[in-house]
Symmetry: C2
Subunit: 322 residues, 2 copies
């Protein structure tokens, strides 16, 4: 696959495999107008003195502002700032409209809610082919706990920490290729599901509620006053079906009442599902505190994409939410 | 949180929030010895002419080699090359031992199995505080399909693509904070599990096998000749327990036989589980082809960490594998 003639498009693709964060770099032009652009060419250079660099296309409209200014700010964007990244990557005007700005050491705009911010003074600039390389001294900086946005191969991305050692669930060497391995996606998703459901078990047991009851109560917590068929339409994908006997068990527990063959939660049932929701959120909070907010965000993004990919055409559970 | 006195450690932490890929940069010293180091200060600068840059500490042992050479290679590492990254980040000798090298346009070492490689000729160098900035012209490059390794806040990471639009499963606005939302981790993991299991349903139906049977067969595919209690120890975490009636159903289907109250797969049972494994792998391949190999790797890493985090102390399924 060696290439000796440099095709710019292929080169851009290859360079794009190098993952980067996403920054917005801001300054003010000679007239005091706020100027900013999205850049992923940022990098740190030196700690002593503290230097960072980024590069800007010679054709960029904002070039004159940056070559005539002495101060600019680099904002490492958080996962919540993807929209801002797109806004500052476009040529539109009023990029700053609606943004509340902080006051920094210079008058360069300082955007809020970033993962990190570096306030810089131009140390020197260098010619870099079709770009100018800006090297700046960091004169102030701050950092938040917000997980950072990443960019790779032309797409926004989120990162998940990769343990230093390969993460193995079993202490045993990998089995033969023709057997089950712990690396099978279906196994991992299934085991994760059952272990998380297992953590709900104590509260379900205390309510004499089975997993199947729990699924039914969850549907009723979102859609009240529905028939058994509707409940089953929402939980049928679990491979389980509720029948009248199951529903009667819930009625006997005082959690559900029925009227005209429609089911709804009782006050006790509402209270029970609120406990379920609180417990589910508490289990999730525990996991987030161990694995990190950014990583759980990456997991959720992946799971949603997997769910969309494998969706057998489930009805929208929230569509007629009560 | 503004800081005006620059604390080097705090600055390094803040700079580390900017996600990067991981590269190994190689050359040969005056005596023809291969030299290489891990760097994440790489970035692209210009397409016309094709320029890239990276920076090297002035105290680095390899500095003389890079300042006296004209050619060096940048390797964007894949997720499989984390160990190599650590090896080239250390001060050890013989970093290249055991590595098969490709022949590039120069004699600089060209490492295999990378995500992308850029063969460069030094265009110019610049002083960058405690580092030297190397700017090189790309004279050849290539790229593979291997997902790239990332680095963030001092940790290796894998990336998962984030859709340009926020990914929503429901068409409805988010419900109240005190209710279930589609963003609840337990819901997402559960729905992903049941949808993937649902994709196995056709083959299970054709074998008259239930999900519970399937779990039992999966255990027997790994550990043959075990008692019912042992099977239940492995699938108990699903909230389901097998009894003798379930096992007799599998015996009647000709998939399992029992001897001295121990169970094992029959030839037909082995064949059935091989079909399950093939189907599970085929379902996974479909998902990989849609979502991308790197993203599924990120998903698996996250699921394994979640499983370790929520493990109620399950026995190692593969420990006594037959």
């Amino acid at each position: 696959m060696q290439q000796s003639i440099i095709d710019p498009k292929a080169l851009r693709n290859a360079l794009g495999t190098f993952t980067t964060g996403v920054t917005i770099i801001t300054t003010r032009d000679g007239e005091g107008q706020a100027v900013g652009l999205t850049a992923n060419s940022f990098n740190s250079v030196s700690l002593d003195p503290p230097l960072v660099l980024w590069s800007l296309a010679k054709t960029a409209l904002s070039l004159p502002a940056f070559t005539s200014t002495t101060h600019w700010n680099v904002h490492v964007l958080s996962t919540e700032q993807q929209e801002l990244s797109m806004r500052f990557a476009s040529k539109g005007e009023n990029k700053f409209s609606g943004l509340e700005l902080d006051q920094g050491v210079s008058d360069a705009p300082l955007i809020q809610q970033c993962t990190a911010r570096f306030q810089c003074r131009t140390a020197f600039t260098h010619d870099g082919g079709d770009h100018i390389i800006f090297i700046g001294e960091v004169i102030a900086f701050d950092q938040s706990d917000l997980p950072p946005l990443a960019f790779q191969s032309g797409q926004y991305a989120v990162t998940a920490k990769k343990p230093w050692q390969e993460l193995k669930l079993s202490s045993v060497e990998e089995p033969l290729d023709c057997s089950y391995s712990e690396d099978l996606l279906g196994y991992l998703v299934g085991r994760a599901h059952f272990q998380m459901l297992g953590k709900m078990q104590q509260i379900l047991n205390s309510q004499s509620v089975t997993a199947l009851h729990f699924f039914a109560l969850s549907v009723l917590a979102i859609q009240d006053n529905v028939q058994l068929d509707d409940i089953n339409a929402h939980i049928g994908y679990t491979g389980h079906q509720l029948d009248v006997i199951h529903m009667n068990e819930l009625v006997e527990l005082g959690l559900v009442k029925s009227l005209d063959s429609k089911y709804m939660l009782t006050a006790k049932g509402h209270k029970a599902t609120l406990l379920h929701i609180a417990e589910a959120k508490s289990i999730e909070d525990d996991i987030v505190s161990q694995l990190g907010e950014g990583d759980i965000m990456a997991l959720k993004v992946m799971l949603k994409r997997l769910i969309q990919q494998t969706d057998p055409g489930l009805p929208d559970l929230w569509e007629n939410a009560s």
